[in-house]
């Protein structure tokens, strides 16, 4: 079903069989078709996700939620979107016009692109050409995801700055520092997946997990990288409980306060699209992508794998909504503490333990023990740092009194 790796550590460059015989007109047409379908699927999934979030949150809060447009209000998002087309597009007088216009693009493009490397299913045949249900499979696959999430900072940062207004600026500075901080933890937990797979290709990562449910990275890596990835991804997406970026009570709307009409709609779209994409990435990295829970029997059709993929995707979409309905927002210092002082050291520690365990169990325990000792050192450092900060803060008022 998937191309198997030949040997551990060497990367197959098989890529998509579509490009095996060079690029001609038919191949370009197939690529256009696939891209179009993926694009449409993403848009529909965003429309669905917005509705799903509103509906589930309203259920959790004992409200009815959207129920007017379409059956069970499913067309509500579409209606909202169409409404936004007819709204006046305001350009604040203090804004940097060009960057203000550019920012929504910068926010939506990475959301679209990251989805391209997610494998959605097996191999299908279109017009006599075999191709994977995956838009692109570049040799740096998983790093491409990381690159896209690091580029996503620009949209938020520039939107806030270019608005020329207080709240957006505060929101964007918060957002950029937050996204940058959690990207480190994201990268470290993704490295654990690469470690057991021995390849950066998303298709290899999926095929490596396709044998049975125990081969899913969720279990093989011992839950911890998955947990760290989930937390870091939530923070990277600026979703609750990490939504300090647009904390309504403090910052009105955060970085997009000054945006209206369709520009606002694009930010909104990008946010939900990134949520869908990030969930798809988690399914790929940790839950075996399109493979079912049983052993891989090499299904000829492409639709059962797609079904499994969507089913797993739904789990994460629900988790995101659930988190939003349940958890209160973190304070900024708690957010930074969690990212830097817990997630980053923990994920680095676990990565090295995993590497040692792959070689020999004894090395694994040795690294584990050493890690615990270093963890204690870190705890002590946190205490020292805290008291240094407190001293500095305690000294400051005294100076003010003297002056």
């Amino acid at each position: 079903m998937y191309s198997k790796r030949e040997a551990v550590g060497s990367v197959t460059l098989a890529g998509d069989p579509l490009f095996g015989g060079g690029v001609d007109g038919a191949v370009v047409l197939i690529v256009l078709l696939k891209t179009g379908v993926a694009f449409a699927a993403l848009m529909v999934s965003v429309l669905f996700m917005v509705w799903f979030e509103r509906k589930v949150v309203s259920d959790m809060q004992n409200r009815i939620g959207p129920n007017r447009a379409g059956p069970w209000g499913t067309l509500q998002t579409l209606a909202d979107g169409i409404k936004l087309f007819f709204k006046e597009d305001l350009l604040p007088e203090q804004a940097d016009r060009r960057i203000f216009r550019l920012a929504p693009y910068l926010s939506i493009v990475p959301a679209f692109l990251a989805f391209a490397v997610v494998p959605l299913g097996g191999v299908i045949t279109i017009a006599g050409r075999e191709t994977r249900l995956q838009l692109a499979d570049p040799p740096v696959g998983i790093l491409f995801l990381l690159a896209m999430s690091s580029v996503a900072v620009y949209g938020v940062m520039l939107a806030g700055w270019s608005s020329g207004s207080k709240y957006p600026l505060l929101g964007s500075v918060r957002a950029s520092a937050q996204m940058v901080s959690y990207e480190a933890a994201l990268g470290l937990s993704m490295a654990a997946v690469v470690l057991v797979t021995g390849s950066l290709l998303t298709s290899d990562i999926v095929s490596e997990q396709s044998r049975s449910i125990v081969d899913w990275n969720l279990f093989r890596l011992g839950f911890l990288p998955f947990g760290i990835f989930l937390v870091a991804a939530t923070a990277e997406l600026n979703r609750p409980p990490f939504d300090l970026v647009e904390a309504e009570q403090e910052l009105v709307g955060g970085f997009h306060t000054e945006y209206s009409s369709l520009r606002f709609a694009l930010f909104f779209l990008a946010e939900f699209m990134s949520t869908v994409t990030m969930s798809a990435v988690m399914v790929t990295l940790f839950l075996g992508g399109p493979s079912g829970p049983g052993p891989d029997r090499g299904f000829p059709g492409a639709f059962l794998p797609v079904f499994w993929f969507l089913a797993k995707l739904m789990i994460f979409l629900f988790i995101y909504v659930w988190l939003r309905a349940t958890l209160p927002r973190l304070r900024y210092d708690q957010l930074m503490d969690l990212g830097w002082k817990r997630l980053i050291p923990l994920s680095l520690f676990w990565l090295l333990v995993l590497a040692a365990m792959i070689l020999d169990r004894r090395y694994g325990f040795a690294v584990f023990g050493a890690g615990i000792l270093l963890g204690l050192l870190l705890l002590r450092a946190v205490q020292v740092g805290q008291s240094a900060t407190d001293d500095a803060a305690g000294a400051a008022p005294a100076v003010r009194e003297a002056g």
Binding site: L32, T35, L84, A136, L169, G187, Q386
Partner: protein, 151 residues
């Protein structure tokens, strides 16, 4: 190279979609700007201050520290790919590398460079009347309306 064709197509499609919807919005939406509408948002009051001039240097510090960690993470990926060839040698290499970064991390943290929290030590408040507490100032009322004396 051809692997990037779909990504390029997706990029073009996303840009066309965004530009197309802006065009549609420009054609469909009304355009009646007023001074009040285009003023920076300030919850209805007239803004009288420029946006903040300076931010805490900590934000900048975080970005700087991130670069260092980003570089370390990038080294981890090729290492992870060929780890099974490198075996013990690779493990030792990375442990040494990680230790060096960890040392600077410890230095960072023990300097309080990543502390954002409100300082736990607050000014010793000289309360005006020591006798005033919540017990003495808050009048509790029972369900039936009588005042409950503080215990």
């Amino acid at each position: 190279m051809s692997e990037y064709l779909p990504i390029l197509t997706m990029l073009v499609l996303a840009l066309v979609f965004a530009a197309g919807s802006f065009l549609a919005s420009a054609l469909l939406a009304p355009r009646k700007p007023t001074a009040a509408k285009s003023a920076p948002y300030e919850c209805g009051i007239v803004p009288d201050k420029e946006p903040a001039e300076r931010f805490p240097v900590r934000f900048y510090l975080v970005a700087m520290i991130f670069i260092i960690f980003d570089i370390e993470i990038i080294f981890l990926y090729p290492w992870a790919v060929i780890f099974r060839q490198l075996e013990l040698f690779g493990l030792i290499e990375m442990v040494v590398f990680a230790l060096a970064v960890f040392v600077s991390f410890i230095y960072l943290i023990s300097n309080g460079a990543l502390d954002w929290g409100p300082a736990r030590r607050t000014l010793a408040t000289t309360s005006l009347t020591p006798g005033r507490t919540t017990d003495s100032t808050v009048r509790r009322i029972s369900r039936t309306g009588e005042t409950i004396e503080a215990a």
